[in-house]
Amino acid sequence: MTARTCQSVSHKHTLNQFRRNPQRRYESLSRTELEGYQGQILHHLQGAGAKVGSIIRVTSKDGEVFEGALFPRSEYADQNHICLKMKNGYNIGIHLERAEKIEVIGEGEKPHFTKPKVTTIHEVLPKVSLVSIGGTIASRVDYRTGAVQPALTAEDLTSVVPELGSIAEIDAHILYSELSENLTTAHWQKIAEETARLIRGGADGVIIAHGTDTMHYTSAALSFALQDLPVPVLIVGAQRSSDRPSSDAASNLTGGVAIAARADIASVGVAMHSDMSDRFIVAHRGTRVRKCHTSRRDAFRSINSPFLARYDLQTNQIESFDAVSRRDKNRQLSLKPHFDHHANLVRFYPSFDPALIDSVVANGARGIVLEGTGLGHVSRQCYEPINRAVKQDVPIFMTSQTIWGRVDMNVYSTGRDLVDIGVVPLEDMLSETALVKLMWALSQTKSRDKIRETMLHPVAGEVTERTLAEAS
């Protein structure tokens, strides 16, 4: 779980590589001892017998001396500078041209991590299973190099966020180490199956540590795949990576685990900050949540819906708002983990080329969610290709790009025309949720009518009849 924002602005630094794929990076570190250095510099450093971490002295032609531990070089950075970490902790870069002589004057320490002491609590705590999908949530930092290592075991996790140990008994599982934009329907299936296994094994709640970018797609997918849940499933992410003291990883995880362990709900949710302060962690309904900001801690918002639960970091109090689905460990979970990715989300815009609809169909689409304007409109030039698609048994559904609100295709003639051709309005369903649900529906039946029926039938709170004022 990484602060995506960090990556998007700084593709240039070595250490981001750590976050991008912590495991892979560790392998590569052991493969090369002069990580990131290439060309001439690599040659000079090898000549001097230097390794990353060695204490190096660089002497310039004018007799200037620079000393420090050799620091790894980013593969994106230029190949003209040697990076040293000086004794006082600062990093500096010396241009190769300035370096007349490079010598190794000592060996550095290996990065190490001392685990804080974990106090064992003897009372009986709820059991919460944690499934990690990737990223650096609750990862640990080596302050000498800035290296970020994932916390892979339950012990690692509770040592980094000691609060967890007093909230629940946690067992952690690593399922993937994948950035969220690389996840596919196949991942969703595996996550759903693993979650079901853990719940059937007796977990009082499940936490899924996940990159934030596509968290709301996964939460929708799990909402459909895991039905009749006996306990809550919370997806947790972080908008600030855990290598900074102000990271929201620990507080989101604390809130997520507390809600998973104790809240009287049994739905799939996304647990993140409710606002910019470190006070409340809220669980949003999995089918009703959307990432609405690139970087803020409170990027996730419940759309057209109140949230499921709220945890107060100061008082440890939980409020549960989900009246529909209460915790009940005797309820039998039903698992429907399949998704057919031959569904498309097509966004309409002024001057939209209607041929796009034809090409999506030609590309093998079995169903299309059109994200129209306002109450659910596309231009009249689209009528023909939509008509063709419907005739080929490719159902077309309508959601709105306004994000908030409900489509209503009876108000304007465009809406009525589209319904006449066969477009199915999806009420107040979010576009992303509609796409995920369509993928799920397609995996269950080939019948167009059945698909249409499934899409309109509420499964996990994704469609409601009334739009509440305070929730919209």
Binding site: G89, G146, R244, M276
Partner: protein, 573 residues
């Protein structure tokens, strides 16, 4: 870090006009400000330091909450320079470019408030080598650094725009960093008091060793004494108990009479223990046996605590009353500090008080707290950039002072005073705007007069640039006499939202028109006609005094004398 702040909430005040998501730590930082890098490079070159080829921004972990991110961004720009201070070379270890932290605007035991208006402002740190010997040398070095900074003309005027952090260590003592010495005149005093504090700590340590106290003799045995204090009259303890809190005591073995030992004026060993307890335990303060009985705690209570702790005349004790967890955290900090007293002078980061003494701020962060800022890519510094900056270095203070002497006919003393002051740019602006006002007079006002106003505790920091421009403009226009300038500034310091013209009106210092002046002159002459019967010259002198008594600061004496002469002639004619 997270754990440490568990019990402490931090509130940030952000002005929506000036704080954006970066200051709120809700968005990644932008790239390094290139103007700030240029200025830092300029200072690097002025200090004859070596600019680095590639700048790496680091995160320095700061745990007090003054940065929303939990760290301060900082980067080395140059290494190994030197500056001349008081006739000798002082090595400059490094020049760094940093982000300023938030400003603390409030604090309670459990919370701190920081305002973000200062957060992220570029800050240049110049670290000198550990070679400054005496407090006076420290002061002179600070002055020399200030001159170089001012030479860039990029330094803001006012207290706090140049802050001195002092690293002080003495033989047998420890390296102590003192932050936030805002006033240059205070540098040598702070150094002197810190040396005194460390010497006293060393002597306390020796005394403890003489008493054969070992660090582990001071045990974390915290005894609940809430019952003993239930009947005491101490308001602090009573209110803590009423809120559901507890009172605990700890024995400090062998510490009798040492807690009251003064380390620096008003700072005792007990104060040091208290500051640690306040910081780590978030408690309001401590009571220690050297100051008791007092504060409503009577001899009987003291004796009862001693008995409960099993201590005798050789021991001291500390009591804290507050919420239970806070008390235990506080007492743990007290024990740690007491153990340190047996061993050494602890390495600390301390903050300067206005009187030159200091107080505990936080433990000293080491190199271990520094790691790369991965959101800001390293910046390569090209040779062309260095050449461009080297080709346009600002002139150094001595050179500027020489020019002021020639161009504005200032005395060498005034010229160098103006260069050392914060007002060089303002001086040039005022004398550039008008040729009517004497340059020496402007320089004198900006240096000596302001200093004496400051000595009279006039809040001169309230004066803004436009105040000075306005008042000299009024003098140039003849709206007031130059003798009024200091009075106008004194008034403006108390009424900073007003203008110099308002001051003239309020103080009645506006120049009289020739017509108004003539009316006064005529009146004085007519009502003193009898004087003219005798010595006419004497009469003129007397009348001159009478008129000036009425119009001082509002009329040019030459004009008064001329009007009197004409009037007297007419009367006699």
């Amino acid at each position: 870090m997270f754990e440490f702040h568990k019990g402490k909430s931090i509130t940030y005040e952000a002005d929506p006009e000036t704080a954006c998501l970066v200051e709120l730590d809700e968005e990644p930082p932008r790239q390094l400000n290139s103007e700030a890098v240029d200025i830092a490079l300029t200072i690097t070159l002025l200090l004859k330091a070596r600019p680095l080829d590639e700048i790496h921004v680091m995160r320095k972990v700061v745990i007090d909450g003054s940065n929303t991110t939990g760290f301060q961004r900082t980067a080395v720009i140059g290494l190994d320079g030197a500056l001349r201070a008081d006739g000798r070379d002082v090595p400059v270890e490094q020049v760094t470019l940093e982000e300023d932290s938030g400003r603390k605007t409030g604090e309670t035991k459990t919370s701190a408030v920081y305002r973000l208006d200062r957060l992220g402002v570029p800050l240049i740190e110049i670290s000198t080598g550990p070679v400054i010997g005496t407090p006076e040398e420290a002061g002179k070095t600070a002055l020399a650094i200030g001159r170089i900074l001012r030479a860039t003309r990029k330094v803001k005027r006012g207290l706090g725009s140049i802050r001195q952090d002092l690293n002080i260590s003495i033989k047998q003592g420890a390296l102590v960093e003192i932050k936030g010495v805002q006033d240059l005149d205070l540098v040598s005093r702070v150094v002197e008091l810190e040396v005194q504090r460390q010497l006293n700590l060393v002597s306390i340590r020796d005394e403890l060793r003489f008493r054969q106290v070992k660090p582990l003799d001071i045990k974390e045995d915290f005894v609940d004494v809430t019952g003993i204090f239930a009947s005491s009259e101490s308001k602090i303890i009573q209110s803590a108990i009423k809120r559901g809190g507890k009172a605990y005591a700890v024995r400090l073995t062998g510490f009798a009479n040492l807690l009251k030992r003064e380390l620096a004026p008003g700072i005792r060993l007990g104060t040091e223990l208290a500051k640690r307890a306040i910081f780590w335990g978030r408690v309001g303060g401590i009571f220690h046996s050297d100051e008791l009985p007092a504060y409503g705690i009577e001899t009987g209570t003291v004796e009862a605590v001693k008995e409960r702790l099993g201590s005798d005349a050789r021991d001291a004790f500390v009591v804290i009353a507050d919420e239970e967890q806070a008390v235990l955290d506080g007492l743990r900090a007290v024990v740690e500090r007491a153990r340190e007293a047996v061993e050494k002078v602890p390495e600390e980061t301390r903050a300067a008080n206005p009187d030159g003494t200091t107080h505990y701020m936080r433990p000293r962060p080491g190199a271990a707290r520094m790691y790369p800022e991965t959101d800001v890519p390293p910046v390569a510094i090209s040779k062309d950039r260095i050449a461009r900056i080297a080709g346009s270095l600002p002139r150094m203070p001595a050179e500027v002072a020489g020019e002021l002497q020639v161009q504005h006919r200032l005395s060498p003393k005034l010229a160098s005073q103006i260069v050392d002051s914060e007002y060089l740019s303002l001086f040039e602006k005022i004398v550039g705007a008008s040729r009517e006002v004497s340059t020496s007079y402007v320089a004198t006002v900006l240096t000596e007069s302001l200093k004496s106003l400051q000595r009279e505790n006039v809040p001169v920091e309230n004066l803004r640039e436009e105040h000075f421009v306005q008042v000299f403009d009024l003098v140039a226009k003849g709206s007031t006499a130059k003798e009024s300038v200091v009075e106008v500034l004194r008034w403006l310091a108390a009424h900073p939202a007003s203008t110099a013209a308002d001051a003239l009106d309020d103080l009645g210092l506006r120049m009289l028109s020739e017509q108004d002046l003539a009316v006064i002159v005529n009146r004085v002459v007519s009502s003193n006609k009898s004087l003219l019967a005798n010595d006419r010259a004497k009469a003129l002198g007397k009348m001159m005094n009478l008129v000036m008594g009425e119009v001082r600061g509002r009329a040019d004496p030459t004009l008064v004398s001329e009007l009197l002469r004409v009037r007297i002639e007419r009367v006699l004619a």
